[in-house]
Each structure stands twice: as structure tokens, then as C-alpha cells.
Assembly symmetry: D2
Amino acid sequence: MSPKDPAQRFFDKKMTERERAIFEGGIGLAAIYHQFIGTPVSGDRGSLEKLEKAIQEAALLQPHKKSVKVKLNIPSNLSDGGAFNYRSLEGRDLDVTIISEYGSYKATSRMKYIPELKYVLMYVEKIEKTS
Amino acid sequence: MSPKDPAQRFFDKKMTERERAIFEGGIGLAAIYHQFIGTPVSGDRGSLEKLEKAIQEAALLQPHKKSVKVKLNIPSNLSDGGAFNYRSLEGRDLDVTIISEYGSYKATSRMKYIPELKYVLMYVEKIEKTS
Amino acid sequence: MSPKDPAQRFFDKKMTERERAIFEGGIGLAAIYHQFIGTPVSGDRGSLEKLEKAIQEAALLQPHKKSVKVKLNIPSNLSDGGAFNYRSLEGRDLDVTIISEYGSYKATSRMKYIPELKYVLMYVEKIEKTS
Amino acid sequence: MSPKDPAQRFFDKKMTERERAIFEGGIGLAAIYHQFIGTPVSGDRGSLEKLEKAIQEAALLQPHKKSVKVKLNIPSNLSDGGAFNYRSLEGRDLDVTIISEYGSYKATSRMKYIPELKYVLMYVEKIEKTS
């Protein structure tokens, strides 16, 4: 167990380090989705990279996040016959990978649009023992 | 395993039902926090109950949520000397309990303000085998 | 001028009542859009009506709003071949009418998807003198 | 009138350029508030500057915005005895200035916390004729 975790005593005593890493991954993905959907975005790569970085740094502040990678898949020719040259960020634009770590486990969680499901899926790609 | 879960094949093969229930709980809590923080609220109980219900029903739509209970702790004398009689919903107003279920496990996740931590904590209160 | 408005002295002295009513309408529309986009919704009318009411009551708390009407245009057969029976609220689902009032003017502001523009437009439909 | 504005025909015919500039300012302020409140922030200046820039660039994409300046007033010693070294962005952290322009008018709109009002006020600081 992480000896410095002031929150641990609020959790079910039988919850494992591995389970906690997984829980923190789920929190991280949903936080990004529900915080940033709706943000105005254009197809300009430079501008998108700034937003990706800002989202990454915000998400990394949450506890037990080891790394966060955000890719916004916005076509560069966004306007597409519409009258304006931007639109709101949608779930299907997101490709996010979060590595959360707790004690001696780390979980790699992912959020991306899955065409077969017609759904922006949040899932756990990999769970590893680190020591 | 839940035979009807079209998302299962995207998860790490070694992830257990118990872990999946926990993951879905984390998603549910963070979704509520980051979606609804900022909503204008008053101290009127009738109005708050409508918002609580709307949040509950929205959160229940996400996969594998068995029950969602939202309590918004807003003092009825909200204005408190300010010029306006409402404010934005803050994290510390929230007391949320989500029961997520997957296969034969259910997890009770909770989000509420913990004074000692000065923090709105998301945690797993209880994990149970259901069958 | 509204003699009880504690905020008035912060505004440009030459701003008219009519202009203020218009300004408050713009605030109200954008608040709804950026607060609620991303909320999980299904095609169930009863559930949608609860969310519509909750959004209306929240928006009405903001200053100088006289009425707010929110219609969420979600098809009842939402799933549409996808694996899940809900999706996130999008801008194009919204049809919102806000009447804001200041002094002796009221403005009717509207937000809805305009197919020719491929855009969720926020606009002022009507401005009236009330006395 | 701006001859290239595809949205103009949806507006009340008697709405002036000056009024339109004001309306677009109100939209811009509320969009920032309700989109970004809740974002995790720390007191690290470098990180805050990236978020400020990302918010500015997003807000500038909306129509008729000429400039957007965002200052996030987060104390550098954020933790303040709490268990964690970050918190959620709140309305009172924001100091935003938007210049919106339409036809031959521009409006300077502002959002910031006003201690006497105990309120994050959105207001129009200045309206100018540009030509």
C-alpha cells in the first residue's frame, strides 16, 4: 500500500492496489470527457496541440496519474461546407491514454471512438505489476 | 463474465468482473463532477430535487450503473450577504453514491467533501459478490 | 434604469436598457450550451422532460431572465444500431428560447441548429419595449 | 452591416451593429465560464499559462471575437493545508476580457469576481465606434 495516501482509509479495506490503479484510470478518462466536450476547436494543428497539452497537464494533476496522452482527431478541413470554421469538441474526436499507478500496479486506460460500437469507449487496455 | 457486453473484448483479458465494476464506478463519479459543476443553483429544495433527479437519471444511462443517488448540500439561505440569490454548483456541494455492477460483483462508489482532506474525494466504499 | 441593480455601475455608462437585455440573453444561451453539452441522454421522453425542466430552472436563476424554454430534440429510437442506448447531449439537440428583461426592454434570444449553416446559432429573435 | 454574415437574417431586423457586438460579448464570457469551471488547476505559473492560452484560442474561434485575454488568479501556494496540491477552477479565479466586433462597433466585455457583490460579474466595460 502507498503509505502516504491520506485517502486510503476511506476505501473498502479489501480493495487491492491493482483495483485502486484501475479506479483512478476510470476517474481520469471521464473527467476529461465531461470537462472538455463542447470546447470550440478548429482544424489548426498548432492550436489543437496547445489544447491537447492543456488537457494533459490538467488531467495529470489528479492523484495517481503517471502519464496522460491526449490526441484530438480533428480534420484540418473542418468547415466542410458549413458557414463557420470551427465546431465543438465531441467525444469521437478524443483518443486518450492514461497510465495510473498505485502501489506496485499500473493500469493503462484508454478512451476512443470504436466504429463497430458507434460509441466512445472507456476501457482498461493493460494492467501491470511494476515491482 | 457478462455474455452480452460488446465492450469486453477491448479490455485486458486478465481484468476481473470485480475490477470492471470498480472501473465503472470511477467513471460514473467523475462524469457527474465534471459535467455539472458550474450549474446555477439556489437554496430552494424543490428546485434542487429536480436537479438531483436529472443528474441521477443521466448518470444511470451509462453502462453497468445499478443505482445512483445524488444529494446536493446547498444551504437554504444561500445569498449570505451577496447581491444575488444563487451560485454555481461546487464539488463540495455533492454527495453522490453510485452502485455499479458487472457480472457477479457490485461496487459502491462515493464522492463527497472530506473536511480533514479539504478535498472532494472519490472512493470505493464497498465491494460485494452478488451471487 | 433598474434602480435595484447592484451591477449597473460596472457597465459602460452609455449602455442602454435595451442593450443590457440583449447582453443577458447572450449570456444565458452560452451558459446552457457549455454547461450541459455532454450530459448522457436517452430517447425516453419522460426522462428528457426532467432534464429540460432542470436546465430551465437553472438558467432562470441567472439575473434578468424572465423565462427560459428548453426543448431537447432527441429521437426516441436513439440507439440506431449502436451498442448502447444513450448518447451525449449535442448542440444540435438544443432548441432554447430565453426572454431576458432589463428596465423597459425585453429580448427574445434563441439557440437552435440551422441546417443551411450547419451550425447551432445563437441569435436575438425579437426586441420589445415593455412600457 | 457586415455583408458576409450568414447569420444576420435570423436576427431581429432592428438590431443594430452595436447591439450585436454586445450580444457576442455576452456569449463569449458565459462560454468560457461554463466550459472551463471544474478543470483541475495547480498554482504552477507555467502550467496555468498554457491553460490560459488554450482557453483564449478556443474562445477566439467563436464568431466576431477580436481578442480574448484570460488571466487565472490561482495562488502559487495552492495546497493550503489540504492533502492535495491542486483544485478545480472556480469562477472567482477568472479575469477575462473579450473584445467583440461587429460592423463598425466593438464592445469590451469583462468577467471577474467583484468582492462587494460576492459575485463573478459579466459586464460590458466599454462600447466604441471603430469607423
